[in-house]
Subunit: 342 residues, 2 copies
């Protein structure tokens, strides 16, 4: 079966997904009978469009050397933006991976809504639009009869949403508690191990490419807050947005002394997100080293408390473009293969 996809946004995650597709085209064909053609890639400066499918290696090379996909030979277009592409290019699936924005969710929010309106399934790693307008996006997907998949918005490589939605289906998710941000967890782990101040650990994280040049979303807890909103909506049927967080406290004021004190009590200070019946918040918490979610470095972990299966914890890498892209691929296979809707 031939499936056509449009990739919107060609930064870390978009490029990671293209690299992953190159690696996995054989598996997609053999195991799932899927031939995936990326018929368009759009970035902020233009697009590349080929209804027969773009060469992804070439696309990655163009992006690397020329900074925009619009220089793709023959198929590059400097005068096409995302809305033009959605209007003029036929495709079954849109992969929306533009940078996140928690002020108004744009441009991702409009791109996703427009893709749905045009009957295209949407897979995204973009948290902002979901944190601000989850129910709007969900309702639009129902209205236009398309799938809306967003496992890649939370947990990096760790499939938190699909675990709960699929493998724990039939259970009621009573609470969600986890470490959801790789950057802050790396910083806290380094501060704790090397007894170094926050600024030094942050610089190290930036040097290693773990966080953005502007790390505000991470260290102020905003990134974790967005993820908690998404989880609470998707898994607990809460109708909440980013504004409903009762508390968002980051890690920028945590000193080495607090970490030393924690360690004396066989605990660690971690940036924890919590969603329960009455609570929705993000804050640094003292948690025992023996707590299953007490993971270090760039790991993420989440604990689902459920009514029947009881407590289920999943742990995995919380960052990495290709690792995160693996969830976009899982979402895609799920839509094509298991939903029988294409």
């Amino acid at each position: 079966m031939e499936i056509r996809a449009i990739i919107i946004g060609f930064g870390h995650i978009g490029q990671g997904f293209a690299r992953l597709l190159n690696l996995k085209s054989g598996l997609l064909a053999e195991n799932f009978g899927i031939r995936l053609n990326v018929v368009a890639i759009v970035d902020s400066k233009g697009a590349a469009i080929n209804p027969s499918g773009l060469n992804l290696e070439k696309a990655l090379n163009v992006k690397k050397t020329k900074k925009t996909i619009a220089f793709y030979p023959e198929y590059g277009k400097h005068d096409m933006d995302t809305l033009n592409v959605l209007e003029s290019v036929d495709a079954e699936i849109v992969i929306e991976v533009t940078p996140t924005n928690v002020i108004n969710g744009e441009p991702g929010l409009s791109f996703m809504l427009e893709a749905m309106r045009r009957g295209k399934h949407v897979i995204t790693s973009n948290k902002g639009p979901l944190a601000l307008a989850f129910s709007k996006l969900y309702e639009a997907s129902k209205k236009y009869g398309v799938h809306f998949k967003f496992d890649a918005t939370v947990g990096g490589a760790t499939p938190m949403i699909s675990l709960a939605q699929r493998c724990l289906v039939g259970n009621k998710i009573e609470s969600i508690r986890g470490i959801m941000n790789a950057t802050t967890n790396f910083i806290l782990t380094k501060m704790s191990r090397d007894l170094c101040p926050f600024e030094e650990a942050l610089k190290e994280a930036q040097k290693m490419g773990i966080c953005e040049k502007n790390p505000t979303y991470d260290i102020k807890g905003i990134d974790t807050a967005c993820k908690m909103v998404i989880l609470a909506n998707a898994l607990m049927n809460k109708n909440v947005t980013y504004k409903d967080l009762q508390k968002i406290v980051g890690i920028e004021n945590i000193g080495v002394d607090a970490l030393k004190e924690a360690y004396k009590k066989s605990c660690a200070v971690k940036l924890v997100g919590l969603a329960s019946e009455n609570r929705l918040l993000v804050q640094p918490e003292l948690i025992p080293l023996s707590d299953k979610i007490c993971v270090d470095g760039t790991l993420n972990a989440v604990e689902f408390k459920t009514d029947v299966a009881k407590d289920i914890v999943i742990i995995g890498q919380g960052a990495g473009p290709i690792e995160t892209a693996s969830k976009i691929l899982s979402d895609l296979i799920d839509i094509v293969k298991y939903q029988n809707t294409i």
Copy 2:
């Protein structure tokens, strides 16, 4: 949508599933539009059959007071066995939950094959048939075009198989390593905490109802070995049976001294199952307390090493009839709702 199910085997798991269905019939209807009628229940002494659906509360009560479902008022049959029921009762799904047997897989193996031959989807928690004849069952399910779901064979409440098959789809599972048996993990944890001998911990486990009166399968590592065979077949495309295990060592010879020594090294002795490219074995191993799979009590844990998402660990309750039944329910919802095949 009305779905008819036959439950074969009405011990702990079968009764757990009946209790769970009673709890969840509202959720099934509201969230998934499923009205599930259990049209037959079979145990070793007879059956109860009602094409309009049995009353599960009554069925549980009959089993409790009269020891066999055949005394179910009006619909009880002392002269019907499983093969008669599969022949004469219309149903879409068969829940096969008879006791496991690793000598020849019977009677579960024949029941499952017969159900498939008759075009019924099969969901099971019964390890023996899969450990001995996985490929035969898998091929039969393909031949007759039915679903074959067995998440409940491994991990108790912890969805190990569905996590890998669904949420990690697109990844190659390179190795599987885990603590898969709640009884032995409870015993080792108790021995380690209370510094008590094996026999005392075993008695405590029996008193608490965690293990069978005959705990051989658990303590000799046979139960874990069966689970490793199932995981290796289902998730790593290995064509192996129970006979292919390179080593099966249980915990019956582990003394308190070994556990004390382990603790001094910040380690614990755990019964570990391993499947990798070249290895398939079960043995007690010294693992660091900081290892993510180093869980205590009746918890189970497994680590999947994958090519793209890297290491993913899931932890949850490894035992309990209703907890395990939650995975039968998830498998059932998956077949009905997500496969669109009924």
